[in-house]
Amino acid sequence: MNPDWNDDEKLIDALRDALASSDEVPTAFVDAGKAAFAWRTIDAELAALTYDSAWDSLDALAIRSESAILRSLTFASDGWTVELELTPDAVLGQLDPPEAGVVSARGETGKLATTDIDDLGFFVLHPPPNVPYRLVCTTTSGTTILTGWITP
């Protein structure tokens, strides 16, 4: 792959290709990439997926496509567990150990929805996000827990 830019014609060709290649990338594509930096500022405990009811099914894809079927997920970090039930109308969540606070769903481009977590650690996000998201739970005692990605 020697560029052989000693040749005027080949250098002209290479320059055309170089300048065109930066033009073909849509501005929105670049901007979305820049926005991704916002995730960095979330200093949170990462809660990883430890259970997905879809795993129990022999045909996980069938469950995903049937939105009427309830799906439950469990995310866990060292000290916290977030249990979720995804229904067509809402995301029901339970923080364990129970503590009040605020929970938001964040998609790739930013905050999608926010709601309170009650004293028993329970919350309802209604309606559920329709794009992939992560939940950020901030408790009143100041802990932030970030779940893995959830694909509706």
Partner: protein, 197 residues
């Protein structure tokens, strides 16, 4: 380009929370992500999906990135992996010979795209270092097909007879820019400078 000090600097600053440095990284490597996606013939919405996953992974990956100079390779490979994931999960695109011939060609494609991206970046940097007059002239000459010389003469207000010599002069200047000179000094993969005078 192997140990591009700019990239190392940008990664370090982005890691420290400098949004500007991150923006610059994205601007620099968005074309790489884009061209890898194009290699797998992804549709625009799918390219957006892959892009998002790649950038989010990079945000998470920044603190653990031990060799910032290896970033382009990491980006190309990660993009590729995200492309496969998407192709598999949607099967909207026929996974042509992807499944049958895994590792070797994949890696070759990633390396090829990294190289191509490096060259394009070098050329764009070099072009930006040229004088305004050279930039204007070359911008016209790289059109496909280029406008006739009398039109160039009219638009740039230069004698027709000077266009040919200026073309050669500007290309020589392009080869002599620090960006290209660096590539020439980079070994067998570069080019032999100055043999054409």
């Amino acid at each position: 380009m192997r140990d591009d000090p700019t990239v190392v600097d940008l990664v370090t600053r982005a890691r420290d929370g400098e949004k500007n440095a991150w923006d610059e990284l994205v601007e620099r490597y968005a074309p790489l992500v884009f061209s890898v996606c194009r290699r797998y013939r992804l549709a625009p919405p799918d390219i957006d999906d892959v892009g998002q996953s790649v950038w989010l992974r990079l945000v998470e990956h920044l603190p653990g990135l031990r060799e910032p100079a290896a970033l382009p390779g990491w980006i190309a490979t990660t993009t590729q992996r995200e492309c496969f994931r998407l192709i598999r999960s949607t099967s909207r695109v026929e996974p042509v010979d992807l499944a049958e011939s895994p590792d070797v060609p994949e890696q070759a494609i990633a390396e090829e795209e990294v190289l191509r991206h490096e060259r394009r970046t070098i050329l764009r940097t070099a072009f930006a270092e040229l004088s305004r007059r050279c930039q204007l002239l070359l911008a016209l000459l790289i059109q496909d097909p280029p406008p006739p010389y009398d039109e160039i003469s009219r638009r740039l207000q230069v004698p027709i007879g000077s266009i040919g010599p200026n073309r050669a002069r500007c290309l020589t200047k392009l080869r002599q820019t620090p960006a290209l000179a660096l590539l020439a000094a980079d070994g067998p993969d570069g080019f032999d400078q100055g043999t054409r005078g």
